[in-house]
Amino acid sequence: MKLEGTADFPYCAADVWKALHDIDILTKTIPGCRSMTANDEGGYVIAVSLGVAAIKGDYEGTLNVTDVEFPTHYMLDGSGAGQPGYVSVHVDCQLSTNESATRLTWICDAEVGGLIAGIGGRVTSGISKFMAKQFFKAFEQEMKNHFEELTNVSDDG
């Protein structure tokens, strides 16, 4: 399954990059994220509940960041397993800037195995797209919160 998209943020690439690697922000914004911690290899251990309504599966796995070229490119390799099967993703993330914003262009190759693959085919890609949208919506909001907080802090200071 291939998913792709772009998202624009009114911040500089370095800030967007930082936020995209911020565990607190990611924990809050990744749909269904139950926990996320850094591991020794520079990646993360993550637990998520993926799905909609009553149809949810719990997955545990790892996310690794590779091919890092700060602040323009990185790859996110994730894989997780749970009762419904497994999910693995390769996300290619490109950051580019123009005057006012940073654009994230992402291409995700996702592999879904097990129950969901065989039973949920009619809705899987749609739900995945929805979750991607959900993530960016929340992420944008979190970044906004984050920077407002920073601004507030600096104002106060």
């Binding site: 909609v52 309504a53 009553a54 949810k56 599966g57 809705v123 749609g126």
Partner: protein
């Protein structure tokens, strides 16, 4: 293929169900007809820890005529609604749509409210609720509210309903007098989920000018969708096949179809247009017949 264990509560009333929901929070799911939920549970795709059964509440089937439309109690079986004289007389498109839901054995148990809350974008009843501007009466332990169908559907199987809320009834609005309806869906095999579907209601005046239009599509986006631009392109115009073809092109604005084993997104998008033309033509013919106009 057997369901995982769960705690089972048999609600004695909807109020009781709300109480139980507020006790159990996110863990609890409402079991109504169960025709989608139990299938998902048998696959263990769904493993709700708690089920609150509202299928045994006294008098589950209730259909009441109101001034603006027909109110159907959420636990009413689809088959009861399908055969209700109120539905057949005042909401013939709804009766026609229900006939397309799976098979009669499923409709004997599946409920009107259950199908809407399940929010499968390929299902007929969610589409009917947006087509007919339905109002959902939603109750919880803390009170009652009305949600318009149009605001109800968020994405696949996801609605605006909070985890402590339950839909008590659905008021389907009666379309304007002298309106006509059309309903078309296609599936590779009779009774299966629609690959795409379109339903339309049109009202004409005596000059065959369109005075009202409602078009709902299903199976072609993450939720059932109204094709507002297409509707707007009809109202105030003298109807013709060419107009319908033109208006149907505008459904592309709301179509966000996905590919699956049966067909590609392009196929679905194109068929959504084709079915909309057919639904509009049928609706137009029925409206003309109601007005005593020739075809």
């Amino acid at each position: 293929m057997k369901p995982a264990n769960f705690d089972y509560y048999r609600a004695t009333s909807l109020e009781h169900a709300c109480e139980l929901l507020s006790q159990h929070g996110d863990d609890a799911k409402i079991l109504a007809g169960g025709q989608s939920l139990i299938a998902a549970m048998n696959f263990r795709l769904a493993r709700p820890p708690v089920l609150i059964d509202i299928s045994n509440i006294d008098g589950p089937n209730e259909i009441v005529d109101e001034d603006t439309g027909v109110r159907i109690k959420a636990t009413t079986t689809q088959r009861t609604a399908e055969h209700s004289p109120s539905v057949r007389n005042r909401l013939p498109v709804l009766a026609a749509a229900i006939e397309n839901i799976a098979h009669f054995q499923i409709r004997n148990k599946g409920t009107v409210g259950g199908s809407i809350v399940n929010a499968d974008p390929a299902s007929e009843l969610p589409a009917m609720s947006v087509l007919l501007d339905a109002e959902l009466q939603v109750i919880s332990a803390s009170g009652e509210q009305i949600i318009d169908a149009e605001d109800f559907f968020i994405t696949y199987m996801t609605t605006a309903l909070q985890s402590d809320e339950v839909v008590a009834s659905v008021l389907f609005k009666e379309p304007p007098t002298n309106s006509g309806w059309g309903f078309h869906e296609i599936a590779r095999r009779a009774g299966d989920f629609a690959m795409a579907g379109s339903a339309a209601i049109i009202a004409l005046d005596s000059e065959a000018i369109c005075t009202y239009a409602s078009i709902a599509l299903f199976g072609v986006a993450a939720t059932p969708v109204r094709a507002k631009e297409a509707e707007a392109a009809l109202v105030g115009k003298n109807v013709s096949d060419e107009l319908f073809e033109k208006a149907a092109l505008l459904v592309a604005d709301v179509v966000e179809a996905e590919s699956d084993v049966h067909a590609s997104e392009e196929y679905r998008g194109n068929v959504a247009r084709v079915l909309t033309v057919r639904a509009l033509k049928d609706a137009c013919d029925r409206s003309k017949a109601a007005l005593g106009l020739g075809k």
